[in-house]
Every structure is written in structure tokens, then in C-alpha cells.
Amino acid sequence: MELWLSMKKNQVDIPAFKRDYITMLNEDSKRRNPGIKRILPQALLWIAAAALVITLCPRIAAAQETAAFFKQNCASCHTIGGGRLTGPDLKDVTKRQDRAWLRDFIMNPQAKINAGDPYAVKLHEEARGVLMPSIPGMTAEKADFLLDLVEAESALPESQFKGLQISNEPFTPEDIQRGIALFTGHQRLKNGGPACISCHTIPGLGGLGGGQLGPDLTRVYERLQGRTARQCMALSPRHADHAVHSCAMPPLDPAEIHALVALFEDTAKNGRILPNVAVLNFSLLGLGGAVLVLVLFDLIWRARFRSVRRNLVQDNQLRGLP
């Protein structure tokens, strides 16, 4: 690191001899910290230049392509021609409803429902009370682009947003076992993402339980009523429960979803809700470990230098007295 910083390896122009002398000459006992003052003007200049470059950098605030936008923000709840998820299938939605209405709804769903618009209230009921979130940064222009996209995709025989179709076969005990393996990570997800346990917890995991970043999945089966859960996970686990957290999980494999839903169903049927002591246990383990390491440090450096002169004086002063 040192070498990397020094750029010029050895300044030959000033002989090493002299440099130290010069250091000595310039030693100033006045307590000042002008280091920052000297660097600051140049630093500010550079910072300003950097800020300029960054704000102008077109890629940072780049408008996301509408399709990508749809995939990221809409596809978790809506398909185009793939049937209902949490939200309705959007195929031919522009034929079902007036375009201006749709645009308003996209921009602020809550307002429409609150206003008592009958169509909006109906949609809300169909989604079992799940409210469509308003997307951050949504504009009328963007909504129009989205509707254009939906229209175009509806016209296609097979939309790219049709979503995955998954089986409706009954669950077997093997499915449940596989679900456990997938949840805890014993079996890696095909998409390579972190296992469910990273962010979610269900009862019966033992140890320190599951993660807390995502919602507790104990009651997910009841909440989402089976099949919907499957469909949700089919596209992307994110927004699956409308917990507005995003993660970069790519879609799950249909077979994996089958197994996981089997697990959730099993949990819903048999699982007892256990008191959550995992956080406490985890913290106590950490604290205990830290104390242990401190004791270890003390042992490793038990012969460290403490004090010589004071001990010498204290040990011998008494001896010297009559």
C-alpha cells in the first residue's frame, strides 16, 4: 500500500541525509492542525468536478425500459394471459376499462378505492383486500407507456409476461421433506439465490430459527390461500406477501414451489406457534463469545508490559523503611 501511494519510489533530488535534518529544523511545537486547510481547496475543487461528472453521468438516472419496469414492478402480481395472481390477469385490460381510468388507478390505487369507485372496489375485493401499492416514481407518462406495453403484449399469442404454469397435484410427504430441505438450504435453489431461511422463519426449525428480514411465514398458507402462494412465488418471491422488501431473487422453479407450498401447508396444519427466543439466544451467544474472546486475549498477552518503574518503587520503598 505504502509503495503504491508513494508513486515516486525514492526522491533522489533531496539526499536522505538532508531530509531528516530538515525535518528536525522544521519541527514546530506550536499546536496547529493545518493539514486539512492545506488540502481542502484542492480537495473541494476535485469534489466539485466529481459531483459534476456524476450528475451528468446519464446511466445513473437512466430511465428503465418499460418492459423491464413491468417485470420489476408489476409482474409479481399480474400476468398477461397467464391467469390471476394476487392481481388480475391484465390481458386485454384496456378493452375492459377506459384508458384514462386505468392511468389514474395505476398512479394512485388507494385514491380510487377510497373514492368508492365501484370497479376499483370490486378489484380490491377480488384481491381479498390486498391493496395495490403505488409505485415510487410513477408518472402519467410512464403509466401510458405501461398501458401501451400491456396492449401490445395482449395482442401477441403468447406474452412474455404469461408467467410460469405450475402443477396442481396433491402434496405428498416427500414434497414436504423436499420443502424443508429447500427452506433450510440443504438443497440449493436452482436459481442460486439464498435459501428461504436467510430471511424467513417458520416454527420447528430449531437452533436459532430463521431470518427476520422477510416476514414470518408461519401463517403464509392461510394468508395467501394455497394456490395463490404458488402463483406468487412462481414469478418472484418478492412482493409475494406485499411486504415491500425487494430482493434480487430470480424466479423459483415450479417443482421447488410445489415442495415449498407443501411445507407451508403442512406448517399451517400441524405447526404450533413457538415463542420466539431465537433473537435472545443469538444475542446471548454473541455476548458470551465476545467475553470468551476477551479472556483469550488476556491469556495470549498475559506477559504484556504493564509498569516497571512504579512497581519497582512500590515494592522497594517499604523494604527501605526501618
Partner: protein
């Protein structure tokens, strides 16, 4: 509105910080080499020093190494975490390191505040740095405790986010929806990076790695170099 803030904090601030770090560090090294020092105060007080500096440095080095490894090889971390017991071992170890850092930092602050000799060599910048570090470490520990298991979800959020930063195509969607505590941890980290060259942290840039392979004795010649060891 919040989107705008997120953009500022997670797409502009990181570049600004790293930029400041690079430019000011280099400039300071060139113009103020003398000021590059760990400014050790062990000489003035050496008992609390042990309980402050040793846990702090070992703790924070472990934690930083953990963040770095998780960034570089997220898949290996996930593979390790695939058995819950191993996940728990990793997480508890990380928490221990974090707590050691915090304990060390508390000692450091107590030492600077109470020992009068040490107070005379403590600058205002040191206190600013302490405040930032406290925020950083406390939020880190809270994230570990309140939002387990970070070693796994890091791979799905932070790793792609940091990569997007590295590729000059920042994608803030990975982080914009994370809990506030995590966001605070990230933003504060960028602030620390940005203020780095204005603080005593610059001693990290001059860690003495050449020592491990240089010859034992050093001889300098005045005139033309006659290297003979």
C-alpha cells in the same frame, strides 16, 4: 421524493465518497506525508489501551473481512450456510466480532474522555470519527440481531448492489426497500469512506506490508546507490 433521496444516498454518495477518498488521500500523501501516522497514544497510557485497541482492531478487521468475502464469493458463503448449524456458527462468530469491536470502541471513547494525557492528543476530528464509528457499529450489530441472517441475504441484496456500483451502473432497487437500519448502516459506511482521508484513519493506507519481505537491516546511501544490504 424518497426515490430521489435513495438515488442521492445510494447512487451518488458512494461515488462521491470513493472519489474524495482517492483524491484527498493521494494529495495528502504527496503534500503532507509527515501527517501519515497511526498517532498511537499507547505511550501515554498502556493499560486501558490494551482493552480498547486489541478487541477493536481484531473485531473490526474480522467484520470488514467478512463483508469483503461475502461480496467476493457470495455463492461460497451460501453453500457454507446451506446447513443451518454452519449458518448459525458463521452468524454468531460475526456477532462476536461485532460486539468485540463495540466493546473496544467503548473503551477507546472512555479512555479518550477520562485520561487527561490522552485528551491532550485528541482532536475534534477524532470525536467526529468516534461518533460515526459508533453509529456504524451499533447499526451493524442491530442489523445482525434484528434482521438475521445477513450472511445469506447479503448475497441477494448487497452483493449485486455493490457490483452494480462497481460497474458504474448503480441499481438502487436492491437496497431502496431494505429496512431503515440497514440503509443507515450503508449510508454511514459511505460517509466514513468519504471522511477517511481527513482523519487518522489514513494509517490504514500505510499498513507496513513491505516489512514481511524486506531485508532485516536497512542501509541508505547518500550518493549514488551502492546496494549491499
Amino acid at each position: 421524493m424518497s426515490n430521489y433521496h435513495d438515488l442521492l444516498l445510494f447512487a451518488v454518495l458512494p461515488y462521491l465518497s470513493v472519489f474524495v477518498l482517492l483524491i484527498v488521500s493521494i494529495q495528502r500523501y504527496r503534500a503532507q506525508t509527515f501527517s501519515f501516522s497511526s498517532l498511537s497514544s499507547q505511550f501515554l497510557e498502556n493499560k486501558m489501551h490494551f482493552w480498547a485497541l486489541v478487541p477493536f482492531h481484531y473485531g473490526i478487521l474480522t467484520v470488514i473481512a467478512g463483508h469483503f468475502v461475502a461480496f467476493c464469493v457470495p455463492r461460497s458463503i451460501l453453500a457454507w450456510n446451506s446447513v443451518p448449524v454452519r449458518l448459525y456458527i458463521l452468524e454468531v462468530s460475526a456477532l462476536i466480532a461485532g460486539l468485540l469491536t463495540l466493546l473496544g470502541l467503548i473503551h477507546m471513547i472512555a479512555r479518550r474522555a477520562t485520561v487527561s494525557k490522552i485528551r491532550t492528543v485528541t482532536s475534534k476530528v477524532d470525536w467526529v470519527l468516534f461518533a460515526l464509528l459508533v453509529v456504524q457499529i451499533v447499526t451493524g450489530i442491530l442489523v445482525a440481531v434484528l434482521y438475521p441472517w445477513g450472511s445469506s441475504w447479503y448475497a441477494a441484496t448487497m452483493t449485486p448492489y455493490l457490483w452494480s456500483l462497481l460497474q458504474f451502473n448503480p441499481d438502487i432497487t436492491y437496497v431502496s426497500a431494505l429496512p431503515l437500519m440497514v440503509k443507515l448502516h450503508i449510508v454511514n459506511a459511505f460517509i466514513v469512506v468519504g471522511l477517511f482521508p481527513f482523519t487518522r484513519l489514513v494509517h490504514i493506507l500505510v499498513v507496513p506490508n513491505p516489512y514481511l519481505w524486506r531485508r532485516t537491516q536497512v542501509v541508505r546511501w547518500y550518493g549514488e546507490a551502492r546496494r549491499a544490504g
